[in-house]
């Protein structure tokens, strides 16, 4: 592990992006795909070795004099030095979460690269797709290893840009175009808060550096000097604003509206960006700044509230959606909210800050099983050519591999032992209960809802009633090996990931935390999950009228949830009716009539004046002579009069 490796991890995807982006059109599809996948594969190996070295090697780079493993290792390079204090560095920060994120990102990205070989086969713009995937991988890797908040912001925007490019991959489809614009604008709006937060924080602390901030958070608190702004301390404001950027990227309510629409992109992209990696950037951001957040409990409480409300909201909406990718999208929102809650409830005084570890653990396992679910959904869509589960059903007979892996994913997300989700979710629930029973019960309920909607989806796809596939002239079948192999690998990981001794590896203060099952909490959550699955089985295993009856009995709630509680309409109302009418139109009017109008007035005046005097330019030489003569005489008269008077 040296600097070369760390540079290579970032440089390889970037080179792939440039290579495929510039020369892609000259390559065949197959070559571009294999090149991209190979590049990602090498990056994967490098990232694994880096993480392994960091966690386990005895290299003196990672061990301090006392024999303890260092929390963070930094390779830094000064990029821009404006003043002594204002220095912007680029570097490579290795600490438990960035090492973990390296593993997650490269794993999922490699799986998606491999999967896309089959899924995107024959699409126009295949090379462009791989170029964008490489760009995204580069940006995301750069984001997680950023040594300072400014570098993170740069990669943060790069991630947003590549997400925009990939959502709008099918740029001939108007819905994809508007979805990409929506994602970009909403996240940009959130990034405004992020930027302001960065500026406030660095103004007071005189540094962008993560290590110097997190290793000594008391200094950060002290440097603000107790400054207050609108009833909150400046530090709270800065942290909340930074969290706002995280809310945008991680699709927390009320900035979640872009994520369901982002499903317009190709499904592997949804798996990579909008399930496993980019959307957890917000969680990662809060985790990165966690020691500073601990200084301001108010900010953490806000994080908790936002997370809890989003989790419940997204879970309810997910119960009613028809589009399988949208169900998964809302499930993603809900699960990310779980991680946010875990961070929000974590306190260094409570149970050694278990929430932090739980959040990162859940981030890890969720990336695996959610990528699995999305890739499975992609296989289904590939086979059925529709996003709606209404045109699916009974697929277990046709697509056995997809069926089994999807089931594993559902079990994992539902929190059934021994699958990965159970362990991480259990830790989150423990952390929530430790903080307050309210959050514990709340999150347990949401976990139950999660199990319900996932199995509703599962039964509707693989059981229920089988539509007449023959009639449509296309019998679904399992996808080629490039698509099923990632499914199998991810399913295997989802089965065993829970047994990773995560607490030993990742903790906020580098003190190993020994995961042990909290039997009452675990039992409760498992019972709730099993009950929810049983309910889903009763309602959706065979075609029956029960779901309709249930839906009718709570018609108002059902319709509202189906329409996502009218958030999009609310946004449209606010932007179109209020902002456009009350702000934009007056400003546009002002611009058009006052600013432009004054300029137009000058032009009109000049035009009118020239029109008025152009008659003098008659082309008649005699009138010229007359006027000239009169003028000359007038001067003569004036001279004479002046002479006489003076």
């Amino acid at each position: 592990m040296d600097q070369i490796t760390s540079v290579l991890i970032l440089a390889l995807p970037l080179c792939m992006f440039l290579l495929l982006g510039v020369f892609g059109n000259k390559m065949s599809h197959k070559m571009a795909g294999i090149l991209g996948t190979l590049g990602m594969g090498v990056t994967l190996i490098l990232a694994y070795s880096t993480a392994f070295t960091y966690f386990f090697s005895g290299s003196e780079l990672f061990i301090d004099a006392a024999g303890n493993r260092l929390q963070s290792v930094v390779f830094d390079h000064t990029w821009l030095a404006f003043t002594d204090n204002l220095v912007i560095k680029l570097g490579f920060l290795l600490d438990p979460i960035s090492a973990m994120m390296l593993v997650v990102i490269t794993t999922i990205s490699f799986m998606v690269h491999l999967y896309s070989l089959g899924y995107m086969h024959g699409e126009t713009g295949f090379q462009r797709y791989y170029a964008f995937l490489s760009l995204f991988s580069f940006s995301m890797l750069g984001l997680v290893v950023a040594t300072n908040i400014f570098q993170m912001y740069i990669f943060w925007e790069l991630v947003g840009a590549s997400s925009y490019l990939l959502i709008g991959f099918y740029y001939t489809k108007p819905s994809a175009v508007s979805a990409s614009k929506k994602a970009f604008i909403v996240t940009r709006f959130a990034d405004l808060g992020f930027l302001v937060g960065i500026l406030i924080l660095s103004f007071y602390t005189n540094t962008f550096d993560f290590v110097s901030m997190t290793s000594n958070p008391q200094n950060v608190l002290a440097s603000t000097g107790g400054a207050m702004f609108m009833g909150g301390s400046v530090l709270t404001w800065a942290l909340v604003l930074i969290f706002m950027g995280g809310m945008g990227k991680s699709a927390m309510m009320p900035l979640h509206i872009w994520l369901p629409d982002a499903m317009e992109g190709p499904t592997p992209v949804s798996a990579l960006i909008h399930a496993a990696t980019m959307v957890v950037a917000g969680v990662f951001l809060v985790a990165r700044m966690f020691p500073v957040y601990l200084m301001e409990v108010t900010a953490l409480e806000i994080v908790t509230w936002v997370g809890a409300l989003t989790a419940l909201y997204a879970a309810i909406v997910a119960c009613t959606q028809v589009d399988i990718k949208r169900v998964l999208a809302f499930s993603t929102i809900s699960q990310i909210a779980f991680m946010m809650v875990a961070l929000g409830v974590a306190r260094d005084t409570i149970h050694e800050g278990v929430g932090y570890m739980a959040s990162m653990f859940h981030l890890f396992t969720h990336a695996m099983f959610k990528a699995l679910l999305f890739l499975g959904a992609g296989a289904l869509i590939h086979a059925v050519h529709s996003n709606d589960y209404t045109s699916m059903g009974g697929l277990r007979k046709y697509m056995p591999i997809t069926h089994i892996t999807f089931l594993i994913g559902c079990l994992a997300i539902a929190g059934i032992p021994p699958f990965a989700g159970f362990f991480s979710k259990d830790e989150i629930l423990v952390a929530a209960f430790e903080n307050s029973p309210l959050w514990g019960i709340w999150m347990t309920a949401v976990a139950g809802l999660t199990a319900f909607y996932m199995f509703r989806l599962y039964y509707r796809i693989f059981w229920w009633n089988e539509p007449d596939y023959e009639h449509h002239g296309h019998v679904p079948h399992d996808a080629p090996w490039t698509m099923t192999l990632p499914l199998i690998i991810l399913a295997a990981v989802s089965c065993v990931a829970g047994f990773i001794p995560f607490g030993e590896l990742v903790s906020w203060n580098r003190e190993a935390y020994h995961i042990h099952l909290n039997i009452p909490v675990a039992a409760t959550s498992v019972i709730v999950a099993v009950c929810a699955i049983a309910l889903a089985t009763v309602m959706y295993r065979k075609e029956n009228s029960l779901p309709d009856k249930v839906a009718n009995s709570v018609k108002g709630l059902w319709t509202a949830a189906y329409n996502r509680f009218y958030f999009d309409e609310l946004y449209l109302f606010i932007t179109h009716k209020i902002i456009f009418n009350l702000v934009s139109r007056p400003i546009a009017w002002f611009d058009r009539h006052i600013i432009d109008g004054s300029m137009d007035m000058f032009a009109t005046l000049a035009h009118k004046a020239s029109g008025a005097i152009k008659g003098l330019q008659s082309g008649n030489i005699q009138s010229y002579v007359l006027i000239y003569l009169m003028g000359a005489l007038l001067i003569g008269v004036v001279t004479v009069v002046c002479v006489v008077i003076l």
């Binding site: 152009k614 330019q617 008659s618 082309g619 008649n620 030489i621 005699q622 002579v625 007359l626 003569l629």
Partner: protein, 103 residues
């Protein structure tokens, strides 16, 4: 009675005013040219008269007139060439038809 400077300047002034009147009122381009010659001639007289009455030993005024006559000849020749050219095109030498330089 003494014939002083004034006695020559007044006829010259009247000649000039006739030139102005003719220039402004006539439509025929050659008539306008003739009016122009009148004005030029009036000015020539002034040069000569001032030279003769005020600086009898010098010849500048006379030479100026000499040159003015040469220039008038050149100008007339060119003007007539232009007028004849216009006449070729329009079969007409009415000044009112020549308003192409209008705004």
């Amino acid at each position: 009675m003494d014939i002083n400077l004034m006695f020559y300047l007044i006829p010259s002034l009247i000649m000039f005013c006739c030139g102005v009147y003719g220039f402004i009122t006539r439509k025929n381009m050659i008539a306008i040219l003739i009016s122009l010659e009148l004005m030029l001639n009036a000015v020539d007289i002034n040069f000569v008269v001032f030279n003769r009455f005020l600086f009898p030993g010098e010849l500048e005024g006379m030479f100026f007139t000499l040159f003015a006559i040469a220039i008038a000849a050149a100008e007339t020749a060119l003007a007539i060439a232009i007028i004849i050219n216009i006449f070729r095109v329009t079969k007409n030498i009415d000044i009112r038809d020549l308003n192409k330089m209008k705004f």
